[in-house]
Structure formats: structure tokens, C-alpha cells
Symmetry: none
Subunit: 402 residues, 2 copies
């Protein structure tokens, strides 16, 4: 079944759906222990909820595929993550709330340090601070506003990262990334990968040359490396696809950016997990879909810190009663992918999910953990179908066929 | 997810992957017993391995589909078995290491016995011996070398089976098979199934007529039946798709042939199961992927001999420690399909699989058997995704998307 098939069956009603997403939730045992982070965590509230829910394991993209955050979140919201593969340029732009237009080519800049021979010696320019980043972007912008009739816009992101936007007609994204991916090499030329991209490539070549001149007196950030070229692309929103008036509660720019791309209203920026749950309560009357994004599970997994990830899960567990008090029609608790502390990175392992609703058929799972969820009533399912299932339980899908 | 999607994420490293394939591994209980062949076998080594692995059940093609050996092995190596459906003609040619060219139409011959009325009385010509087969092929070749500018090549295979190759331009495979599939009927005419195949069909009609004349003095093999027409087709190799330098250790021609079609190096021909495991050890340093094919599980299943199949599985179990000593990064133990002794044939039942790796998330399965694997962490999965999963565990796939 094509994930977009559900769109044809959507009806509106007053039900409410909450997606509580612990980023990187899935884990692995570490160092001779025999439990994952989630299995190790004391989670009485999630366990009790699992006992009344239907559980399972989700594959974000497919067997063996380790997803980036972009594709994983697209799958969560029911967007085919491969067909809708989202470029890094757009993700950066979305993350800083840059007002994109459909004439934009969005590119991620890494400021880098090159030596006198043009060899990259630091791909991150010593991770310059945000202030330096802003100053350098202003310097570039003051000297370059237009090239061959194409508008050029520099926007700082953070540390060594910035956004470069080319705005004009006929721009193409099929161009070689200039970041050589390791120090000791010169930047690659921005070569056109298809003949139609020759003009854009020539323009970028000129821009890189100019940028090099302008930054030649900088100690660290004396070159720009380009990657993630992406033409702006408009995605159908959750309102358009599912008739949902969605609110995103997320602290991190990238997730706020993805939510914005999909037409969600962006909530206030919370400064703690607890604040996210308070924001959920405060805005509960105004929306019917809630994306609540908890980042630290992923961050502690990326750090390789098993116990700290366990602690984050336990902190979330304590806040579960405040969600249940809202009595949502559908509550989904899961992640976007696995980030096992054992690997200190995203991974391809499926991740546990629970779906709680008055219409769910309970299974025998009464603990929320990877091994328990194997026996869940959802089985092992592709993440992209989760959204449709939530809509069904919210009674927002009509019968198919007579 | 398209199974070829993993190809876009492949990276190279020094890890090693072993696929230990017991052909026809999956089974059924027989005669009032309540266990399958695998469940009946004493397999302490596989059981211990299952306890530390992730297990599941594989569907080679799909629910209810009984696969031939060709499609099943294509699925094992990550090639869509329906899209890449491999003709019997190519399989026969690969099995005898026939040097195919891209102008070839490859056809399986069954020598048969017809009576004076042209009715097939024995579709296998009394299973003539290999020497007779060779003599008859020579006789045909001596009398037919070319027809209408198309080169004709006869190659004996074994018993009543031979390979017919038509080499030339514009040959087509959309032609009715002439084997009537039962005695008591005349051979079917090689009718063109599409207009473009008319010329090839006429040529085959002429060839069958000539062959009948040449073989008219033979007592048993006095006719040829044609099936499995297949135009030569080059498949991308495991090296091209996955960057794997693969070794096939297999005793039977067809499996060596399939491995050769997929670009594997073909190991020495072993004369026992034990010799296969010795060959694995002897060549372990020179490759990074190993396809170890154990045939007798399937043969005993085809014989309907439950106990003999159990004995083969127990023989393999005893050799497992010699594989573990090699410390492969990923060890997969499974089959290509089920061959229950109860049915004395291939079947559509899913078959058990275990994947052992440092990065696997253990489940609660601690015996390697069909019923135990139902509760495994892999769930029930399409076989075609197994290869990508093995690559992921071997850390040979990079992250998808930002």
C-alpha cells in the first residue's frame, strides 16, 4: 500500500492525536549488560500504558537502513522517506526559519581553513563561535549580493555552519559537493553532474573564488565548502493531507524546521523536557495533532552515555501522567530511529512503539522495551504507516470501498 | 523499499560476512510427530548461537509462493527474485560453466521417448546415462551447426538433460515450451507468443524436425523437448552492488552456476559437507563474503526422508564451532526455502534464520527452530532484505539522509 493511500480516506472530527517522540529511542545492550537503555530504565508509567496499548517495532526506512533525522521524521508523519528525500540545504534553511521561495537553491556552507597551497587543513575552521560566524556572513553579504543576475544570500547557522541561498530562475542542484570530507585535500570544484547544471556550477565557481578573496585575511574561516545543494520543494502539509491542525513542540532547530516544512504551527521554544509537556497542556485546546519532540535521548546516545540516556527516558516516564490527564484519543510513544549508546550513533535497528487508544486491541505486552515489543500486536511495521494507523484510531479514516 | 536502495549506501571496509545456507532448511512435522526436521535435530551449537543472535522467519518470494532454487538464491543475495526471474536455460548454462555471450538464447533440452504416432511415452527417455547423453549431443552437433545463419550449440548436462544454445542476432524467448509436462500427449509446437518471436519459433520448429530425424534410430532418446527459453542477461555482481569480494563454496553445479552469474569466485568442488567447512577456513583470508551451500538438507527433504534430513542438520551443527573460530563479523544461518520431507518437495513455508553479530540486538529465542523463530527480533521478513541487513551489521552501509 502506498503511504499516501490514506489521504483519500480522510474525514475530519474533533479527536486529538499526540505523537510523543523520544529521538533515538531504540538501543542496544552495552558492555556485557543484557538490557537496552529502555529496558534498563525504570518506567512504571510507560509500562502500565503498554499494558493497555498495542505495541510493536518500527522500521524507519527499511531493513538495515540507518536514517538521518530528516528521513526518519518524514516517515513518522507518513511521508515516504525515500521518495521525499530531503536535502541538507533545505533542512538547514528550515532549521533557522529562513523564508524560502520556490526559486531558491539552498546550500549548506561549512567554513573551513585552507593553507597557502589551497589544501583544507580544518574542515570546520576550528569551530569558530557564533559571533565570528555572523561577522563573516555579514562580510560576505556586504561584498556579494548578486552574481550574473542571481541573488545571493548568506545566513549564519551556528559555529562553522551557514546557509547559502541562490535565488533566481533555472538553478539546478546536480552539482558536485566541494567538501572533500577530509583534511589534506583541496576543496573539490563545484562540477556540474548533468549538462543542465553547467550554468549554476559556473556561478558557484565564481562565488567560491570571490569568497576566497574576501576571506583571505581571516585566520581560521578563510574558505567556504559547499554541500547539500537542494532546490526548494514544497511538501503537502499535514492539514492538506490529513486535515490536521498540528502543533510542533520541539527545542532543536532542525525538528522545528521539519515541522514547519510540513505546515505545522511551531510552539514556543522550550528549555527543558518538562517545559515541553507544559507547552502541550497550554496549547492543547488549539490543535488536534501534537508532535512533542524530546531530543536528549538521541544526544546521550550519540555521546555513548548509556546511563544518561536511561535517565532521560526515566525523566520522560515521570511526565507521562500529565499527558494521560489530557485524555487524548490517540497517544503514540516512540522515537524516530535507534541511537544505541553502544554505537554512539544512529543505527538501523527497529525501535519500540506503543499506541494507546480506546479502540486499540490490547496485546500481551506489559513492559515498554525492545524485546517486549517484539511480541506486540503491531508486529514489526514500516514507520511510514504509523500515521495512517493513528488516524484510524482517531476515527479520522472512512471505510474503503463498499 | 526497493531492495536495490541499499546499493546507494554501500561503503567498503575489512569486515567479513558468512552466509551458511542449508538448502531446503524449513520443514514440517510428519506422520503424527509434532516437530519439524530442524526442531527434531539435536543442535546444541545452533541453539547456543540463536541465544546470542537475532532470529526470525524469511519469506523467499512472498506468502504462498514456492520458489525454485534460482529465485530463492537471487532473493538470498538481495536481487528481487521476481524482477530478476532467471530462466532455466541460463541456470543450466551457468551450472555447466558454459561460456555465454549476449547474443545467446539458452534453452533446456529434455531428451524424451516418443512412439511411432509422435506421442511422448517417457519425458525423461528412461533417464539415459551421462555417456549416452554425451554421445547423442555429439551426434546432434555433428549434423546441425547452423540454421538460417544462427549458430546452434548442443551441450550435455546430465542424464536426460542438455543445453541448447542459439547464438545470433534478434533471437527472442517468448515461445511456447514444447514439453507437454505429461506422457500420452504429443510435444507442443514451439509457437511464438508475441509476433516478434515468429522468426525464432520457425527456426526452432525446423531444428526440432531435424533433431527428430537425426535421433530416429535411437531406442530411448528419440526426441527433444524444449523449455526454459532465456536470453542471456548480465546481472550486476556482488562486487558491483555491494563491493564484496565473494567466494562460493558449493558442490552442486546449479549453485556454483548462480554464484558465477553473480560474479562470485567459485571455490574448489567439495565432496562432503565437512570439506566445505574446511574450504571456508582455507580461503577465509582472501575474501570478505562467503556463500557456503549445503545441499543434502534439500535432497533428503525431496526424498521424503525426514530422519535423513534431521541427520544432515545435526552434521552441520557439529561443524558450527569451526565457523565461530573464524570470528566473522556477521554470520547468517538459514536456507533458501523450505523442503519439508512431509511434502517431498520445495514449499512456500517461511524458513528460520539467525543473524549473529556484535551489533545484533538479542531477542528471547534460544533454540534454532521454526516455532522459536516466530518470536525472533527479525519478525517475519522478506528474504530479499536479508543481504542489506547483513551489510548493515558489517558496518558496510552509511547513513541515509541528513
Amino acid at each position: 500500500m502506498n503511504p499516501e493511500f490514506v489521504d483519500t480516506l480522510v474525514v475530519k472530527n474533533d479527536t486529538k492525536i499526540i505523537f510523543l517522540i523520544m529521538d533515538g529511542l531504540g538501543g542496544l545492550p552495552i558492555d556485557g549488560r543484557d538490557r537496552t537503555e529502555l529496558e534498563s530504565a525504570r518506567t512504571p508509567n510507560l509500562d502500565a500504558l503498554a499494558g493497555k496499548s498495542v505495541c510493536g517495532l518500527l522500521d524507519p526506512i527499511g531493513y538495515g537502513i540507518t536514517p538521518g533525522s530528516g528521513p526518519a521524521h518524514f516517515a513518522l508523519f507518513g511521508y515516504d522517506p525515500i521518495k521525499n528525500n530531503i536535502g541538507r540545504g533545505i533542512l538547514e534553511a528550515a532549521g533557522i526559519d529562513f523564508p524560502m521561495t520556490d526559486r531558491d537553491l539552498l546550500i549548506r556552507i561549512n567554513f573551513a581553513t585552507i593553507d597557502t597551497n589551497g589544501i583544507v587543513v580544518d574542515r570546520r575552521a576550528g569551530r569558530i563561535d557564533n559571533e565570528t560566524n555572523k561577522r563573516i556572513c555579514r562580510k560576505l553579504q556586504d561584498n556579494i549580493q548578486k552574481l550574473s543576475g542571481i541573488e545571493i544570500i548568506f545566513e549564519p547557522v551556528r559555529e562553522h555552519r551557514a546557509l547559502l541561498t541562490l535565488r533566481g530562475d533555472g538553478l539546478r542542484e546536480e552539482i558536485l559537493e566541494t567538501d572533500p570530507q577530509q583534511a589534506g585535500l583541496p576543496p573539490f570544484p563545484p562540477k556540474a553532474l548533468v549538462p543542465e547544471a553547467e550554468e549554476t556550477a559556473a556561478l558557484l565557481q565564481e562565488l567560491i573564488h570571490k569568497a576566497g578573496e574576501i576571506l583571505s585575511d581571516e585566520e581560521k574561516a578563510n574558505m567556504i565548502l559547499l554541500r547539500g545543494y537542494s532546490r526548494y520543494r514544497r511538501y503537502p502539509t499535514l492539514e492538506e493531507r490529513y486535515g490536521l491542525n498540528a502543533l510542533a513542540i520541539a527545542g532543536y532547530p532542525m525538528y522545528r524546521g521539519i515541522a514547519r516544512l510540513l505546515g505545522m504551527v511551531i510552539g514556543p521554544q522550550p528549555s527543558s523536557i518538562q517545559e515541553e509537556f507544559i507547552a502541550l497542556r497550554d496549547h492543547y485546546d488549539q490543535h488536534d495533532f501534537f508532535f512533542l519532540h524530546v531530543k536528549p535521548t538521541d544526544s546521550r546516545g550519540e555521546d555513548g552515555n548509556f546511563d544518561a540516556k536511561v535517565a532521560v527516558i526515566e525523566e520522560v516516564d515521570k511526565l507521562i501522567p500529565s499527558v494521560l490527564e489530557l485524555q487524548p484519543n490517540v497517544l503514540v510513544v516512540t522515537g524516530d530511529h535507534s541511537t544505541p549508546a553502544a554505537l554512539a550513533s544512529h543505527s538501523w535497528h527497529p525501535l519500540p512503539v506503543l499506541l494507546s487508544s480506546a479502540t486499540c486491541r490490547p496485546d500481551r505486552v506489559d513492559r515498554f522495551g525492545e524485546r517486549d515489543c517484539i511480541a506486540g500486536g503491531l508486529g514489526r511495521m514500516p514507520m511510514v504507516y504509523l500515521m495512517g494507523l493513528a488516524l484510524a484510531h482517531a476515527r479520522r479514516l472512512e471505510k474503503f470501498g463498499a
